[in-house]
Symmetry: C3
Subunit: 335 residues, 3 copies
């Protein structure tokens, strides 16, 4: 890619030789000949100058350099926009590994890449530029959009729908049976799990996360949402757009999570509650009721962050002043 194209894309100003081609983007430590890297400060700029990089993204006001610079407002953000653009433009040819098992009725788009030991069952439709890596299993009637990336050993159960640019990391399970049982006298009956899962555009889901299918309706993950590793999304959960959910969170059945919610790790949310938009949730919180829009909550059970912090401080203070406190109560008891 020409350096001029890149500068245009990230609204940057070139300083130095602008007749340079970029072969790849990398961190300073691993920069090779032809790479572009970024430097947030002058220390890092010094390091970059000592590396084989040909071009450095840096701030608007840092010092001049022996390397070609592209000056931008936020070098880190510019780097990632550049990186994503750079890697998106590389589009492979169609490839199907000879060990893949693909049913006759499967419909494959253009430039689809299917790797070793993949299984794709009847009536699956896969959009253009989608990659399915080794060992992934795509069961009957699934529909995958364009530019999806299915990493190794992912499983998509029957009727799963992935829109476009969905990334599922290794070991993700989508569409497994929900956990729906009814105890009646001495028996446990399983409620049929007949629904499906719909995952909208640009969703990314972390390694070994599991997403159950709806029991009768569907489980939904809204556009732009990012879910980290080892999360559990139960049947009929509806997650809004642009939600960020850190690792090992668990969302129980039929719960609704609004747009732009941010959730730290190991949060648990019970079934059938609604979390509003823009809510921020602290790590290891346990949510047992509805939460209003824009709230910041923490604790198990979760309350407003302020309230949780005050209770923690009060308990610490009481613990420190325990002798006086117990003396007062003893005196009271004695009358």
């Amino acid at each position: 890619m020409k350096i001029k194209e890149l500068a245009l894309l990230i609204e940057g100003t070139i300083e130095g030789d602008d007749n340079v081609d970029i072969t790849d983007l990398s961190g300073i430590e691993s920069a090779r000949q032809g790479d572009l890297t970024f430097a947030m400060d002058e220390d890092k700029l010094g390091q970059a100058e000592g590396s084989q990089t040909v071009c450095v993204l840096t701030t608007r006001n840092s010092r001049k350099s022996t390397k070609t610079l592209i000056r931008v407002t936020n070098p880190k953000l510019a780097f990632l926009i550049a990186y994503n653009a750079f890697h998106e433009s590389v589009s492979g040819e169609s490839f199907i590994h000879p060990t893949a098992a693909i049913a006759d009725s499967v419909i494959l788009g253009k430039s689809v890449h299917i790797d070793a030991h993949v299984s794709i069952e009847a009536n699956v439709v896969i959009g253009d530029h989608t990659t399915v890596e080794s060992g992934a299993v795509i069961r009957k009637n699934c529909q995958l959009g364009v530019h999806c990336h299915i990493h190794p050993n992912v499983v998509l159960h029957e009727n799963t729908i992935l829109k476009n640019k969905v990334v599922l990391h290794s070991g993700v399970i989508v569409g497994s049976d929900g956990f729906g049982y009814i105890r009646d006298r001495e028996e446990i009956y399983k409620f049929p799990q007949l629904g499906t899962v719909v995952i909208e555009d640009a969703v990314e889901i972390g390694a070994n996360t599991t997403i159950d299918r709806g029991s009768l309706g569907c489980t939904m993950i809204g556009a732009g949402t990012k879910i980290d590793n080892l999360c559990h999304i139960a049947h009929n959960v509806k997650i809004g757009k642009n939600v960020i959910m850190a690792a090992q969170c668990g969302i129980a059945g039929s719960t609704v999570i609004g747009d732009n919610v941010t959730m730290s790790g190991q949060v648990a949310v019970i079934d059938n509650v609604t979390i509003g938009q823009n809510v921020r949730i602290g790590g290891q919180s346990g949510i047992i009721g509805d939460i209003k829009d824009n709230a910041a909550i923490w604790g198990s059970p979760a309350r407003e962050v302020k309230q949780t912090k005050k209770q923690m401080a009060v308990l610490a203070w009481l613990s420190k002043n325990f002798n006086a406190l117990s003396q007062i109560i003893k005196e009271k008891d004695q009358g």
Copy 2:
């Protein structure tokens, strides 16, 4: 299936045309021509009348309908009993995908279904009507009963025993090494993990759950028990019958869990304790000692629900009345 057979099975009364065949069961939203659905109230009954369903399970006392009704005491329970019966009666022929790698010494029952890229190692025995889906790995000497369902990418390690009607969802690992180490001076030694896992009838285990094998004895999951996704069952754990364990619970080594226990999500239980029968455990509880039969516990560390709730209320009240409290203590300190 004839509607009369179905009505008999669920102890229902037919109202309307009883000369109808059912082709499948489904939720109201997705009902197709020939399907049976259920309606818990008259609103839902109205919806069902507008759908293509031929027959509706409903309550004993709801209004009459243009559709054929089967009246029962609990339509939801009746629906799932009907659903399970309906789907059980469909028994496939034997099938082995040409890409499956099956050792010569493996013994397969009748109507066994083995899908793409499955590996089955020496001396495995698989019972009648059992299905093993794509990418599953069954290592040496495993024994699987009849009507088991092994979903994609499950791994069964050596010597695992599954009784009948066991369902393992995608990505489940059974029989991995237990986490047994001894620190001695500067070294960590691994204790050999030589035991196995026994999973009894009608157990169902959720996606990406892991069950370690016993170190010397065995890890046991009792008949009828249901375990949700991403749970961890350590070596030598004994889980009783008809236990319901929600997602992301972790049970440490050699712990015993009694029959009919119900556990919410993200519960942790330490090693070598005993949880009695019929115990109910709230979400995110941390259990660090034995628990008596029939207890209801919650919290980390877990206590009786009543006690945990009272402590939470007291702390909230103290936090609210902190000014008065701190004033009293200051006065006391001053004499």
Copy 3:
């Protein structure tokens, strides 16, 4: 193996027939003809005498027996040293299952074992005596040392480095993308994940655990460290040597964990903190700041164990004495 060799290895004294060959080691319950077992006390010794075992490891001062004894100071530790030595000495011949998909440029050492449906991509190097079991996926440019054991359905992403004697249990994912996003106005941008993972000698990682690769640098797991099932290790985390981490722990990005740390289950550690050497961490702890060497901590948020326990006791006491306390405050309020 000759009993004399074994006794030498574990610094034991033989009592009885020393002209015996050991065919395997096992627990008392499952001992077969030719096996060696161990007995920590005389009860167990009695059980061992009733079994088919030919030789029993026992304490220095227990009674005489009809079986050949090897007397040692710690029979359990001796048993596991013997077990490991015994099983290490069994070294298979090279084996490649015909269904494995191995790129031409892959370099395999001596006595490498590769099982069914394994995928190994370009430029991978695998050391002597390493085993890769069914369904494992090893992506481009990975390097595996000698005597590694990769269990079924493990995934190693590009450029992962495993040193020697690394054991990865079934379903482990190494080198998945880290969870790095930047919210900017209405958009979420993904930060490129270009780094790698380095796992040092004798590390063992439990089933379905996920280890993300560094965003620009690398994620490191130090020699001798043991990680249990379903843990999450985020990008750029550095874990020291001989750490023991129980199941379902989550370590957020760029956090550093010192040597010899011991962590119970379901612990969460936030990003960018440092945990010192020899720290012991109680179950379900939530760590939100740096921790000094040799500390013992517990709670969410975590404090010194003593402090956490005192706070719990104080709250329990206040809850019990709530009536008196509320009376005092009421009187104060009333003037």
